[in-house]
């Protein structure tokens, strides 16, 4: 009976409708500006979209790396609402581990097919485990003691650890860029579809990222500890009362994030054939932008955001100039924050409900 007295739907002021429209579709419009503008330009100048398609393909391969890093940000943010600033530098160390393991195992460009595959799988596992263990250790030392402190405190230790990891990288391989042996001939074209060349590097990025993400999503959705992670993310107190060991669950989340960062490190080393101790800073910021773009705390969002950011970055690299790419990606970050801080798919955090 009471429900009958509630008016059907209050007519809303015009301004609010417009605002909601901007909030919902504004971000997509912003994202489409660059591809559409350059697509029109290509059609006018060259008559086809081949260059744009190649940009997008390269962007997706790059984006696979950002997606793997972004997953680490989003997992950690989802569970303890902390921006793990050290994550980008963890990825950098992952690429360093991969690089030095290539030397240890003795993989060179002359290594034959089967040996190469076994070697790379081994290196992938080592890089993943190393980064996962390191990330868990960082959580234990720098974030766990501050669990009840104000939110500013773990954020500051995260920044501190970011600098520590960067200096570990600096000590390890020095301040210069290192060329990684081009084991997989990453620029070698395997096949061409409607004028877009697909290279070994693209296939590698796809072959590593896709299974990892599928396994991760299923793991979190269906496994026992994945359920514990989601419960802790929703309400740590209630999770504790239900018999979930919150500290172990959080450690495990950091482990998963670290594993993904290690995998991203190997792909990046093979794909870019270049590693550098400063690479983690920019990579971290780009991946964080990806995580926010997809909706922080949202695993699928992080992957989609990573791919989109990869495309934006590639178009910017190719058309505007690599030196401006960081500024453009960060400008996107600020725009997202202004127009749609909850991201494309919506965030999944405690505060968002």
């Amino acid at each position: 009976m009471e429900s009958a007295s509630i008016p059907a739907r209050p007519s809303r002021p015009r301004g609010e409708v417009v605002r909601e429209f901007i909030s919902r579709f504004g971000l997509l419009a912003i994202l489409l500006v660059m591809p559409v503008a350059y697509g029109i330009q290509d059609l006018q100048n060259e008559g086809d979209l081949g260059r744009l398609a190649t940009n997008i393909k390269d962007g997706l391969s790059n984006g696979a790396i950002w997606a793997l890093i972004a997953v680490g940000y989003t997992l950690v943010y989802g569970i303890i609402e902390l921006i793990n600033f050290a994550h980008g530098d963890l990825f950098m160390l992952g690429s360093f581990v991969a690089f030095s393991m290539m030397g240890t195992i003795g993989l060179t460009t002359a290594t034959g097919g089967l040996g190469l595959v076994f070697g790379l799988v081994l290196i992938l596992l080592i890089a993943m485990v190393a980064c996962g263990a390191l990330n868990t250790m960082i959580e234990r030392v720098a974030y766990r003691p501050l669990r009840s402190a104000p939110k500013l405190a773990p954020l500051i230790t995260a920044v501190g650890f970011s600098f520590i990891l960067r200096n570990v990288g600096l000590l390890w391989l020095g301040g210069s860029h290192h060329g990684v042996p081009d084991l997989i001939e990453s620029q070698h074209t395997l096949f061409t579809i409607i004028g877009v060349p697909f290279t070994n590097g693209d296939i590698l990025a796809l072959a590593v990222t896709a299974p990892l993400v599928v396994v991760l999503v299923n793991f979190i959705n269906f496994s026992r500890i994945g359920r514990a992670m989601r419960a802790t993310a929703q309400d740590p107190e209630a999770a504790r009362l239900m018999g979930i060991s919150v500290d172990t669950t959080i450690s495990f989340t950091f482990l998963l994030g670290g594993l993904m960062a290690g995998a991203a490190g190997l792909i990046s080393a093979l794909y870019q054939t270049d590693i550098w101790f400063e690479a983690g800073f920019t990579a971290g910021l780009i991946a964080f932008t990806a995580a926010v773009m997809g909706g922080i705390g949202n695993l699928k969002g992080a992957v989609i955001g990573g791919l989109i950011i990869g495309i934006i970055q590639q178009i910017s690299d190719n058309r505007i100039g690599t030196e401006w790419t960081p500024a453009i990606v960060f400008a996107y970050l600020v725009l997202i924050m202004v127009f749609r801080p909850q991201g494309i798919l919506g965030e999944q955090t405690r505060e968002a409900g």
């Binding site: 104000p150 920044v159 501190g160 200096n167 000590l171 505007i320 960060f330």
Partner: protein, 389 residues
Amino acid sequence: MTALAARLRGVRAPGADNPVVGKVLTAAAILFAILLPFAFDSGSGFIEDCAVALFYVVMALGLNIVVGFAGLLDLGYVAFFAFGAYTMGWFGSGWFNSANIHIGVTEQLSKLPGIHLNWLLILPLAALIAAFMGAVLGFPTLRLRGDYIAIVTLAFGEIVHTTAVNSDEGVFGIGSFNLTNGRAGITPVDKIDLPLVDRFTSLELRPWYWTALGLALFVLFVNVRLRDSRLGRAWVAIREDEVAAVSMGVPTVRVKLLAYALGAALGGMAGTFYSSFVNTVNADQFEFSFSIFVLAMIILGGLGSIPGVIVGAIALTFINNRLIPDVLNDLPSKVGLDFDLTELGFGIFGFLLVIMMVLRPQGLIAERRHKAEFAEGPEAGDALVETRA
């Protein structure tokens, strides 16, 4: 570990409770700072370090308004330093050599091409520009929660840095105008030229020191007055609990924008001094690590605690400029390791941030409210209010 942490958190600074002791200590410290240069040669490296330390005191006190008082973690503070430095570079050098504008400068300078304004004119100009940019930065962060603010400010700082590095051929890649000269930088920059005294030179460092001291004392005064003002209490209120502050009628938008603008203005002022002092404005000065260096100062000293921030700034400047390069640099080679400690400067500061946060999060000289908060968790702030009522 926890016992150690508990003990470290309990240590207190002298004069923390007694206002008279505090005042006497302050007066003595200022007198000491004024007389200090007479004990050293005017061209000595020590005076130079002291001037740099005072510059960092100004920077740190500016950042303290944003991070310490208002609780908005600003990781892009270097941007405001950059705006101040470029204001000095553009309006106090021969950079725009087709222009011929001279206001309030000596005869010698007024013969040179370019825009040459007196430093005393550039100082408020830089403060205004930086404050405006601070408000521009503050605007998109208003709706965001704490940790998103950190990342947006960081992105803003990086955008400014990237623009500074690449704007030697067209601003944002448009046109071919050389605005910043990128990494090569704008040099030489006019020396500070105050009325009634001779123009500063790079050999006589005492006047630089006293100028920096004057600036630092001015900023210190501003900081203390702000802290004790209605605005200062509003900042603390939004830092402690934004929802409660809003419901008590604190206009958060205005208060937050003022925090950004005032903090930025101080950073801009410091920038004009520093670029004149080191005689160059180049894009490499505006790296992210600079923001972290200043942040480490206020963390070390104590968030929101004015004496703490000053101590932190002076201590870290000397650790960075003296202790690490001169005293400890060959330590790794003595124990058989092959690297220079100077390379690891920022790793050491990162380590310092972690150690401070874990062992003594309130800083060396704690601010009262922060101390209570860190000692007993977030709820302790309420107990503080009750005991005082």
